[in-house]
């Protein structure tokens, strides 16, 4: 039986034992159907709805005067949109990259039979539990030149110390990276640590016997084993990056000017405070496009790995 593929199995059973078995065969689908319906309506339906709105000139509330792709055209010539998109690329690349490096490094260091490992791990991990609604005020303080780190270091006697990224239009987006890395890198560390613990010791022992140095072992043997972890981490981080909203609102408010705007805040500002629902919807659709670009490889690998599992 276990060698027979699933679809033929169900049909055979269904033929064999009529009513009850048929119910049994349909039960999984029945159990899934509310969720499917919910997905279809609340995710896909709403996406379609947003797409339709993006073709209208809706202002304060949705209206249905269609204007074709005019809103997308306006978006393409909107400088703020390009700033937001560029910021997302910069922010996303740095955020994902730094989180991976910091997370992997901390995990490897923590893996050296450290005393109080549990306590340290919890310290690294806890930021993931907090939203920026909660920590935003503190972050604003810390990064504010005249209140936070700069002022503190100067009060220790380093008068020329400067850390004013928050008010510098060219650097503000990097303050987002700092806070976002603070929040998510511990989580990545935890993923890596669990991955490391799952690696068979004998591989490492064998490499050691071959006389390989410790950094070399990690670089050549251990990290390649962690590819699936890296992959999952990238997916999780990329999706956090695209959805980043509270972070920007709490930290920079998109400023100075709109130098640290991201697509999520752009969309929100236009759809809700500027009464340009049409334009906001168009930007949301482009955001969705970005999500798809990341999601399709992920889904592909998810489904493929299942076939092997």
């Amino acid at each position: 039986m276990s060698t027979v593929s699933s679809s033929t199995r169900t049909s055979r059973v269904a033929v064999g034992r009529p009513a009850r078995a048929r119910l049994q065969a349909w039960l999984p689908r029945l159990v899934l159907s509310p969720s499917i319906a919910i997905s279809l309506f609340f995710v896909y339906g709403f996406m379609l709805w947003t797409f339709i709105l993006s073709l209208t000139n809706s202002r304060m509330l949705p209206s249905y005067d269609f204007v074709g792709f005019a809103q997308y055209g306006r978006l393409m010539v909107n400088e703020r949109w390009w700033v937001a998109s560029t910021n997302l690329v910069v922010f996303g690349a740095l955020f994902v990259g730094i989180c991976l490096v910091v997370g992997a490094l901390l995990a490897i260091l923590l893996d050296q039979r450290i005393r109080q490992e549990g306590a340290l791990r919890t310290l690294y991990l806890y930021p993931m539990a907090l939203s920026f609604i909660v920590t935003g005020v503190v972050w604003k303080w810390l990064l504010n030149p005249s209140l936070g780190i700069q002022a503190m270091v100067r009060s220790w006697g380093f008068e020329s110390f400067t850390f004013d990224w928050l008010i510098n239009p060219d650097m503000a987006v990097y303050t987002l990276v700092i806070a976002a890395v603070w929040q998510a890198s511990g989580f990545v560390m935890a993923l890596f640590l669990a991955g490391l613990r799952g690696i068979d010791d004998s591989i490492i022992k064998a490499a050691q016997l071959d006389g390989a140095s410790l950094p070399r072992i990690y670089l050549r043997v251990v990290i390649p084993c962690l590819r699936p972890v890296v992959f999952s981490a990238v997916m999780i981080l990329a999706h956090i990056a695209i959805k980043s909203f509270d972070l920007v609102v709490a930290l920079t408010g998109g400023g100075p000017g709109y130098a640290s705007d991201l697509p999520a805040t752009f969309m929100y500002a236009h759809a809700f405070t500027r009464a340009q629902i049409g334009l906001g919807s168009a930007s949301a659709m482009l955001m969705l496009g970005g999500v798809l670009a990341i999601l399709i490889p992920y889904l592909y690998s998810e489904l493929r790995s299942r076939k092997h599992g």
Partner: protein, 292 residues
């Protein structure tokens, strides 16, 4: 990974020292915002304006906490964030339970009762994890209106369940994929039904992933602000919205200590959950979604 670093040679000892130094420095970085919050929340106002961020309180006081919980004003209400704390609980608990149960059943059906198109169904649902929530705000508002659930706790619970089941399904599905199919097949041959197999075989081994699902959903929903602010009325606001109202309310001198205390109160449940169960969270998560 035994003997990775041999002890006792001077070089190894130095290496060991650097190792701890790096780890502790990292810990300080992660701790900094929380430390500032905590220290500020027990300082009297006069000390905040006088000293630096990390100066320890000279005369620690719990008054800001009491004020944040029960007296701080937003608008005409001077009732702190305490009441909203319970609003959050009333929203979070049912939403977490319902979405976890649905996720578990979905994951089970998707892995142990595969049918034609079940993979497509999974892919379809997975997309819900990635949808930016701003996109659904307006349609959701209209839908809640149709359902007669606008501005109610039930409405918020529905929203959180709807956008939570994508995640819980993902977790359970990835976890159950790794559970051997043999037992299930044998049970099927014995004529055990859908729910019976779930109850007897899958559920007993599900503890790690239930922990993951509950913790994830709990933090997501507890920390939610966007849905909370858009779909609640004056008496159904969750604590994050109340916190935001409080922090953004300006009354002459800004009471940073009360703001920080309120933020700590809002953060406490998720913090406690992570500190107590973070270990299981990571362990369970790696058993599930990180599986190669």
């Amino acid at each position: 990974m035994d003997n990775v670093i041999r002890r006792r040679t001077p070089a190894a000892r130095l290496g060991r020292l650097t190792l701890y130094a790096v780890l502790i420095l990292a810990a300080l970085f992660y701790l900094l915002p929380l430390a500032v919050m905590l220290i500020t929340s027990v300082k009297p106002l006069s000390e905040i304006s006088a000293g630096t961020l990390l100066a320890l309180p000279q005369a620690p006081t719990l008054e800001p906490w009491a004020k944040a919980w029960g007296e701080a004003c937003t608008g005409m209400r001077c009732e702190g964030v305490g009441g909203y704390f319970f609003n959050s609980i009333a929203i979070v608990v049912p939403a977490v339970l319902i979405s976890t149960v649905i996720g578990a059943l979905n994951g089970y059906a998707l892995t142990k009762w595969r049918f034609k198109g079940s993979e497509l169904v999974f892919a379809l649902m997975l997309f819900g994890c990635f949808i930016p929530f701003q996109v659904v705000l307006l349609p959701m508002a209209q839908t809640l209106g149709w359902l007669g659930l606008s501005s109610s706790r039930a409405g918020l619970i529905l929203v959180h369940v709807v956008f939570g089941i994508a995640f819980t399904t993902l977790f359970f599905r990835n976890f159950y994929v790794a559970v051997p199919t043999e037992l299930v097949s044998a049970a099927k041959l014995d004529g055990a039904g859908f729910f019976r197999i779930f109850w007897r075989i899958l559920l007993p081994v599900s503890a790690p992933i239930i922990v993951v699902s509950v913790i994830w959903q709990f933090t997501q929903i507890w920390n939610d602000f966007l849905f909370g602010v858009a779909f609640s009325a004056h008496d159904t606001q969750p604590v994050t919205v109340a916190l935001n109202n409080l922090v953004n309310t300006s009354t002459g001198v800004r009471e940073y200590n009360v703001d920080m205390a309120a933020a700590m109160i809002a953060a406490l449940p998720t913090l406690v959950v992570y500190v107590l169960a973070g270990k299981y969270f990571v362990r369970g998560l790696t058993a599930g979604s990180v599986k190669g």
